[in-house]
Amino acid sequence: MWPHHIVVGVNGVAISVASDTPEIIALLEPWRVAVDAELVDYAIELDPPPPDSPRGMRPLPRLTHGTCDLFRLRDPDQLTLALMRILASFSAPAEPDRIRVGLMPLVHQDRALLVETAHAGRISPRWYRAHSVTPIYGLSSVVNVSTLTVEIDEPLLGGTTSATPTSLPLLDWWLPSADVSLGLSPGEAVAFVMRLAVDITGTNARASLERAAQLVELRPPQLAPAASDHINERFNPARAKRIRTQITEAIQTLFDG
């Protein structure tokens, strides 16, 4: 399906990347490893084919993980940056006092709100721009629990195209609320963080658990403002709009507050 493909090695992890354009592959050449990969981990489509019907909407460029769409963005540079940031997240495990969680930062006035990728991807870039919120598209973030800061991953190629600082105070963090109908106890919140935590091994499990508990203690999480009922949402655009409105209002309230 994908005309261009490469397997890159980052910190000993082989990651298969596919694209519809050779430019992405060329960017990743320095990390090429001689490993065969039957499956594509990440795919980036920067120039999607036009719709069959002349009245159909032109699809947006997209970044996928397996069969799952991560982001659809009009700006191909943003999408490329997201891919490079995701690849960079494999480069080193979280250092002491830090835990990597599967949440992405939304930045406003140099403060970060961590949210589920699906939540952030549901909001249009236009809304973000209009409200001076910068989404740092990616799959995970590093939280320094001793300073309560979020450390933004440098993209794999180094250097960012935005003026976002690499370390930001953690304003708040939202846990996905899809399967939580009631509030979380602190212990349940820690268990939830461990589900979101990335790169847990036998050697760092104790430290990761302690950091998760420390994070919950110092900055208790909030549940994301709306349940993600994807099926209902798909069949009910009005509900999807309500959910988007709830999320954007909650983000705005938080940053304004």
Binding site: G187, V190, A191, I200, G202, A205, L209
Partner: protein
């Protein structure tokens, strides 16, 4: 030595918490559905599995099993029971101490605790110590 076999199948504690005489032992998260019945001897010598880490937070204990990448949240009483498994005290000794502390009949503590202990063994949180 009498083997105490938990009810078959084990009920998820979240649905049917053990709650007698002021002692309530439950695991807050949902245990595995396909739990295998495990015989737990009251004199068993048990310890935390080596691939388990845990942390106390307020009244709860969170146990993380690295082998299965799963977390288990224990309430206050279950957390207390959990912390007693040091590989040196036998189950009946631990339960006798809990019976004293909570002023609850030993049989009640035993009945409440054994299914939970069996679940923990099934979930690779606890293992028997070979004391031969």
């Amino acid at each position: 030595m009498t083997d105490v076999t938990p009810p078959e199948p084990l009920m998820p504690q979240a649905e049917a918490p053990q709650h007698v005489g002021g002692l309530r032992i439950e695991q807050l998260d949902e245990p595995a559905v396909d739990t295998v019945a495990i015989n737990v001897s009251p004199t068993a010598l048990l310890q935390h599995c080596p691939e388990v880490v845990w942390v106390s937070l307020h009244d709860e204990v969170v146990v993380y099993v690295t082998a299965t990448a799963t977390s288990h949240v224990l309430n206050k009483q279950a957390g207390l029971l959990w912390q007693c498994f040091d590989g040196e005290s036998r189950l009946d000794e631990i339960l006798a101490d809990i019976s004293d502390v909570f002023e609850t009949p030993y049989d009640v503590v035993l009945t409440d605790s054994v299914p939970v202990v069996a679940q923990w063994i099934s979930d690779e949180m606890l293992e028997e110590v070979d004391d031969d």
